[in-house]
């Protein structure tokens, strides 16, 4: 398996965004994942979200760990710097990158093995530290590259392709993200692009730790009868609570919303989240405790709740907490960094 470049032929009528980029400018190399893999749909959703948000591709940094999901950054945003790090450690690498340059947009991509097993600690600490990033877990409940072992997000009682029954409790990353202080928490499904693209756009616009757990069926090892992460199972049990639309900050908001059915949330960057409620419940995405209880209740009923589950638009990020200068640390020079010989002479004098 080697690198597969995409042909650079552009259709002359290809639509351009406000920066003059086409969708092609946000694409990457051809995917080498299995045909029909849920992850490829998420890659496509990322491409579309970045295109529609008019993000300059080179101002995004994409980082991942190890696994099928972590390979995907090769398949989107080919003009962005990417970093395929070590298994389960993307959060620390992303945290460091973010400390070095607060002006880029950080997209972390991981999987359920990467984030819920080997990297659970780093996942947790990146959330509680408030790193400004979009963290997407492509969650298929299975280890694909090593051929079908259960992962830590496999539901108790789920059946593997070889017929084994999972005896362990599942780790719910959404529940953890809520508890650990993520300020944007969503769940979606790779098969529901209409829901997923606006969620990714909103997450990328969010100033703080934004987490999206995206159920993404493994077509090869976890799409059979008895799996709780198959296309059929997720479609049948998907309980979508709201539909999100994002209006970027620069667009004038002219639409008047019908009260009661649509909730709006203004984010820190000025963008407006328009949330259309899809169920009868009085779900409030700004109530962290209620979200946790709602999710637990539905999980016990075998339902997979999707949508924007929690948002705190006033969240501060790690840089705010550290009091870091507005200039990216990687562009400071001797003048700001090195105190010089005169200061050293004084320090010497105090050491005698």
């Amino acid at each position: 398996m080697t690198f597969l470049p995409k042909p650079k032929l552009h259709h002359p009528d290809l639509a351009e965004n406000a920066l003059g980029y086409t969708r092609r400018d946000y694409e990457g190399a051809i995917s080498t994942l299995c045909a029909g893999c849920g992850h490829d749909s998420i890659s496509a959703a990322i491409v579309r979200a970045c295109f529609e948000l008019d993000l300059p591709p080179h101002r995004i940094a994409k980082l991942s760990g190890i696994g099928c999901s972590s390979k995907t950054p090769t398949y989107f945003l080919g003009n962005s710097h990417g970093f395929n790090s070590v298994h389960g450690r993307m959060p620390s690498v992303l945290t460091g990158a973010n400390l070095a340059n607060r002006d880029l947009v950080y997209l972390g991509v991981s999987g359920d093995g990467d984030s819920a097993s080997i990297g659970l600690g780093q996942f947790a600490h990146a959330m509680r530290r408030g790193v400004n990033m979009t963290y997407i877990v492509m969650n298929n409940g299975v280890y694909g590259l090593t051929k079908g072992q259960f992962s830590a997000t496999s539901d108790k009682g789920a059946k593997s392709k070889s017929g084994a029954i999972n005896r362990d409790e599942a780790i719910d990353l959404v529940g953890l993200a809520l508890q650990l202080g993520a300020s944007f928490v969503a769940r979606s499904f790779s098969g529901d692009k209409a829901q997923l693209v606006p969620l990714i756009k909103a997450a990328l616009s969010h100033q703080g730790p934004a987490f999206i757990d995206c159920i993404s069926p493994c077509i090869t090892f976890n799409n059979h009868q008895g799996s709780t992460k198959s296309f059929d199972y997720v479609r049948a049990h998907n309980e979508s609570i709201n539909f999100l639309d994002l209006i970027p900050a620069r667009e004038e908001i002219t639409v008047a919303f019908e009260p009661g059915t649509v909730e709006t949330v203004r984010q820190h960057d000025g963008s407006l989240l328009k949330l259309r409620k899809l169920d009868d419940t009085d779900y409030n995405p700004r109530d962290r405790l209620a979200a946790m209880s709602f999710l637990a209740k539905h999980r016990d009923a075998g339902e997979i709740v999707t949508g924007l589950l929690y948002i705190d638009p006033e969240e501060t990020d790690l840089h705010d907490q550290l009091g870091t200068t507005a200039t990216p640390l990687n562009s400071l020079t001797e003048a700001e960094l090195c105190p010089g010989a005169a200061v050293l002479a004084k320090l010497n004098a105090a050491l005698r």
């Binding site: 970093f83 620390s92 600490h125 700001e336 005698r352």
Partner: protein, 613 residues
């Protein structure tokens, strides 16, 4: 209260050349009084080498503070104690036993100690410290703290230290809390007056004003390394607390708070994150450095063990990183508060697969500072992890050294970074392309250019343009280039230093880091015993040709190191293909710092024809 035991053994007599040891209980506030005592001798122009000997514990266990006074400037530890200040009943027997025959014992005589618990060949000086304190102070904490100052006053009288020197130090120490000055000086005088009136002042051991200090400074290596990181332009520090490296990051915090605040906005020109573990620390350092910041972590052996996977990534993906490894005794948890030089192999060859890393070996705080700053230039230039190898002995003890120096005309070497202008000008960018034939490729920072210069960083194999490939030829070409890069590193790292014997000799010794003071003293002592040995101090790995020539030019070489297995010796054999028979393993690894006498004994064990001195 004064008890002087008449002995057959003559009481020790020495001026500016003896060892004083304080036996204390940790958490009793003795540390600052002991430091005051050490500094007062330094202010009298006489070199001192203080050492903390402490347990891995917070309160209640024994600690010692040892001060070697040496007008000749010997700063290594020395066996035996000449004056014991025995303030800890728990370690009484042990402390008494460590005194040299003819030595002096100073103790709190408030409570009577049976005659059988003393030795007959020493001078015993009892002073009712607790009784004096209880009479003078009501508050329990004051009694404890001033007791320490009182014994410093008494020692000043016993050793002939000028009391004005200590008064000046107290005034400097409490400049910001002026009302503490008078009571401290009062306590100091109380001790001095009592000693003058009741004790045999001065003892056979005395301090005489000297001129051996000059412009030397006294600081610990961790603090110096932290200051090096400030001067070297480090902006991101990620760390996990571990003895004996913790004080390095704490010093970095302290200096940043003073020297790195943006004067206009009051914001920080740095970011320090206490990570959840060492894996995350090194991950953050790698992420920050990938993104163009100068980043470091400080740790000890157990941390280096945990960082192995990431270090392989940094080596293979070619990401700068600076690690300060303040070594302690391993393996496993080992002896967290005891010194060793035992992380050479795990650092030099860190991670699975074929790797080689650059190591720097500072000998004292001056070099901790210099190498600490230089490490960031080397990391950026070589795009690889740089290890600055301290140990507890250098890191946590105050050491007299040359003043720190800085050249204001020096600029940071950010290495081979392609800029927006370079890319616009049409320069070919291949992330792993050896454009200059020195093994070092060019890199770009994320976000540089809208259509050129982006690349994908990965731990998997890739071609010269950073594209994924499992082709054997591309993999081998890349690995060979990394070797070329390592040879380039040889020309950039600090060169070894040679200290030749007075007369030509076929004997040589190789050593590094904190062994240097003891090694130099040993060379001087051996010269007086008519054994000439040339010295070569290794200051970095990879070894350069000077090391090879030195080995070629001597018949027998003693490799002096503070670990069990002779790790430096192994590396010399491995890297230079030296005949192992030529390299004599001379190891000291009980957790105490190596001494000159110990080195001489190790060398003489390999010279059976010489009788022991």
């Amino acid at each position: 209260m004064l008890q002087i035991v008449k002995t057959e053994t003559a009481a020790l007599q020495a001026v500016n050349d003896f060892v004083v040891k304080f036996a204390n209980v940790n958490g009793s506030g003795s540390a600052s009084a002991n430091q005051l005592f050490a500094r007062s001798i330094m202010r009298m122009g006489v070199p001192v080498a203080p050492r903390n000997i402490f347990p891995s514990n917070i309160q209640g266990l024994p600690t010692w503070y040892e001060i070697r006074v040496s007008e000749a400037g010997h700063l290594a530890a020395r066996e035996g104690t000449d004056l014991m200040v025995a303030m800890n009943p728990q370690t009484w027997d042990q402390d008494l036993a460590s005194l040299r025959p003819g030595g002096y014992l100073f103790y709190d005589s408030t409570r009577a100690i049976p005659q059988s618990r003393f030795r007959e060949d020493i001078t015993i000086i009892g002073m009712p410290l607790t009784e004096l304190c209880n009479a003078a102070y009501q508050d329990a904490r004051q009694r404890q703290l001033f007791k320490n100052i009182i014994y410093v006053g008494a020692l000043a009288a016993l050793l002939d230290i000028e009391i004005e020197v200590i008064e000046t130090l107290l005034k400097e120490q409490f400049r910001a809390k002026e009302k503490l000055i008078a009571p401290n000086i009062q306590a100091l005088h109380m001790g001095r007056d009592y000693a003058r009136d009741h004790l045999p002042c001065p003892l056979g051991l005395t301090i005489r004003r000297g001129t051996a200090i000059g412009d030397l400074i006294s600081m610990d290596g961790n603090t110096a390394a932290a200051l090096g990181a400030v001067y070297g332009g480090a902006t991101v520090a990620a760390w996990y607390p571990i003895t004996p490296s913790t004080s390095l990051v704490e010093a970095f915090m302290k200096y940043c708070a003073k020297l790195r605040i943006d004067p206009r906005t009051g914001k920080n020109n740095f970011a320090i994150v206490q990570a959840e573990d060492e894996l995350a620390s090194i991950g953050m350092v790698i992420g920050a450095a990938w993104n163009g910041a100068r980043a470091f972590t400080a740790t000890s052996g157990p941390g280096i063990s945990l960082m192995q996977e990431f270090l392989g990534l940094a080596y293979f993906a070619e990401i700068p990183a600076v690690l300060f490894d303040v070594q302690r005794a391993g393996p496993s948890t080992g002896m967290p508060t005891r010194t060793q030089q035992c992380d050479l192999l795990i650092s030099a060859y860190a991670s699975h697969g074929d790797t080689k890393h650059v190591l720097l070996f500072p000998e004292d705080p001056h070099e901790c500072f210099t190498f600490g700053a230089q490490a960031f230039d080397l990391a950026d230039r070589l795009q690889t992890p740089i290890f600055v190898m301290l140990d507890l002995e250098i890191g946590m003890n105050e050491r007299l050294c040359r003043p720190l120096t800085w050249d204001d005309t020096k600029r940071m070497d950010r290495g081979k970074v392609m800029t927006h202008a370079d890319l616009e000008a049409g320069k070919t960018f291949g992330r792993y392309l050896d454009a200059d034939h020195d093994g070092i490729p060019y890199r770009t920072y994320p976000g540089t250019h809208s259509s050129k210069g982006s690349y994908f960083t990965r731990g998997t194999s890739k071609d010269e343009f950073a594209r994924y490939t499992e082709a054997g030829a591309a993999y081998v070409a890349n690995m060979e280039r990394l070797l070329r890069k390592f040879r380039t590193a040889e020309t950039l790292v600090p060169a070894p230093q040679i200290r030749s014997a007075e007369t030509p000799t076929r004997l040589g010794a190789l050593y590094f880091g904190s062994s240097s003071a003891a090694m130099r003293e040993a060379q001087d002592l051996l010269t007086t015993q008519n054994l000439d040995i040339d010295l070569l101090r290794i200051r970095a790995f990879p070894f350069n040709d000077d090391v090879r020539h030195f080995i070629d030019n001597h018949d027998t070489l003693f490799v002096i190191e503070q670990n069990r297995d002779g790790q430096l010796r192994t590396m010399l054999i491995n890297e230079l293909e030296t005949n192992p028979a030529k390299l004599k393993r001379c190891v000291h690894y009980d957790g105490t710092p190596i001494t000159a006498r110990r080195i001489i004994a190790l060398i003489e064990a390999h010279l059976p024809h010489r009788s022991a001195p």
